[in-house]
Subunit: 330 residues, 2 copies
């Protein structure tokens, strides 16, 4: 999985960035300028690891990058820093400065003396709406690369989509929606699975019928979010009764697009207050999902821009590393 | 499973009523006055049977009730009449008279000459909101026993909860909500399962903390249904951050009660137009679930009454049988 950056770039390797989530890890070998020298990944995340497993799993992925002598700095964000992870990096409370996430970093004990590891903390919100994030705060910090005291509304679509209000480089509040998980459960486990085609793929929004089904669903649920539960069963009934659907694609694919529109549209309806006066929402994540969210936002009259998720997390980890270096007087 | 009514009541057995759903069947041996002589049940429903399996499965449950000679009338409602069931009894369109469900009954072919079987149809709704029901229409017909030209709003809670508008003994419109299935998926399969205690049990609403958590959730989601997706993740965050909860019971049980309140409350929010001027809603089903719905309705200022589900389906099947008897000139 991991190319050996020492082959040609040994002298260039400066540090390793890792995004270690619930179900996988991604690692990047970086030079001092932040250029990616090599990539590694693994399908083992917090859900399948105990605290004692982390070092070995990390070495399996980045072991080839380690110097023969000396130490290698490894900076990790995500669920590896959860209470059930490698070692807990306690949540930072809001408001939280994005250029100062490193103040909550912790160093897990390691056996290999060449590893110098830091785990970044997540953010927590208490008060009216309890909420937590781990990993997304580092992607948000990536926004500070271009705009150090960034303000605005950012959305990170995913299994648990995050919406964050940024003010002068700090996160001041955020909301997590269970949207992606809800979609997955309904599409794959509920009675609706009998009526749906494959899950929305790369290009389902290029199909005119799917696109129309998605857009219509977003608009419908946004104007009547209370009908969510009834509209879900309506998908099944529409299939059983051969209800007319937009032209252009298979019924199952259109119903899947409609379900996607209902779940994302419900999320957007819930964010209406945040969206109201926002000139441009920043979407952070993979192309496929961000394109889907951009279309949903556009349907409701909102403009968005897209920042690639890998770019964001690497910029955020680099920012945290710079803070750590300054703090240690390096 | 099935006591033999011939032991002491052979001469009294008049017919057999069956409610055969997606995942089980319930059968009743009845005398001419509708008294239950014996009960039978099986855990095999439409989802685990092919058309060829039905007769054998029915005989396994009611075989002991069959007369040595002559025929036994068996009237069946539910998913056994679906396209994927024993034989399709096509949906009746709305408006549908509840005292005339039998006009859509079909007789599946059988090998045992003693069986005289009829499958009742379901109801379908097209136009603005496509919807279907199978089985619940027979419980609704049971309301006609006390009030032949019944009017009002009835709710049948369950995996797929049904709300039906009744006018002068007919169903004029209805809505299905995926509420029960949504609750089950979220409680058992989503990330929330890590934070929830056992599913709401017989007496969780007797616990003051659970009751308060349930009632609060119903009211919250009713006034802001668009926040459903965010409030779901909020359950998880409240657990991770040890958020304060009402006193009186374990955190997991209270979070389960809150999830139940959120899903039922979202359903009720969607039915607000139907509920608005309704003096008393009729709840049909088992005690546990109807008590839960009654409390949710009460929270929003609505009055309800309860009709036991078994009583309802038996009365509905008896009404359909009377129609069939008249039609055949018996």
């Amino acid at each position: 999985m991991s190319a050996d950056p020492h082959d040609t770039t040994a002298t260039q390797l400066a540090w390793v960035a890792v995004d270690w989530g619930s179900s996988n890890l991604r690692a990047w070998a970086l030079d001092a300028q932040g250029e990616v020298l090599a990539r590694g990944r693994s399908g083992r995340g917090m859900l399948s690891l105990t605290a004692d497993d982390y070092e070995a799993e990390l070495l399996r992925v980045i072991g080839g990058w380690l110097p023969a002598s000396g130490t290698l700095e490894v900076l990790i964000c995500g669920m590896a820093g959860a209470r059930q992870g490698w070692r807990e990096a306690a949540y930072l409370p809001l408001p939280a400065r994005l250029d100062d996430l490193a103040r909550g970093a912790v160093a897990p004990a390691v056996s290999d003396p060449r590893l110098k590891i830091r785990l970044l903390p997540g953010l927590s919100q208490s008060g009216e709406a309890f909420d937590v994030m781990r990993g997304e705060e580092t992607q948000l910090a990536g926004l500070c690369q271009a705009t150090p005291r960034v303000s605005g509304l950012a959305c990170l679509p995913g299994t648990h989509a995050k919406w964050a209000r940024l003010e002068a480089g700090s996160v001041t509040r955020f909301t997590t929606c269970l949207t992606g998980e809800l979609y997955g459960l309904l599409a794959q486990q509920s009675v609706l699975r009998h009526s749906l085609g494959h899950s929305p793929g790369e290009d389902d929004l290029n199909d005119p019928g799917c696109r129309q089904a998605f857009v219509t669903a977003v608009a419908e649920i946004n104007s009547a979010p209370q009908t969510f539960s009834a509209r879900l069963f309506g998908l099944r009934a529409a299939d059983l009764l051969d209800a007319p659907l937009p032209q252009g694609s298979a019924r199952g694919a259109q119903l899947a697009a409609r379900l996607s529109g209902l779940t994302i549209g419900l999320e957007l309806a819930g964010m209406a207050d945040e969206l109201e006066h926002e000139a441009c929402i920043t979407l952070i994540g993979n192309d496929l999902l961000c394109t889907r969210y951009a279309l949903a936002l556009e349907t409701l009259g909102h403009t968005s821009r897209h920042l690639d998720g890998e770019t964001a997390v690497l910029a955020g980890l680099a920012l945290a590393r710079a803070t750590l270096s300054r703090a240690s007087g390096a």
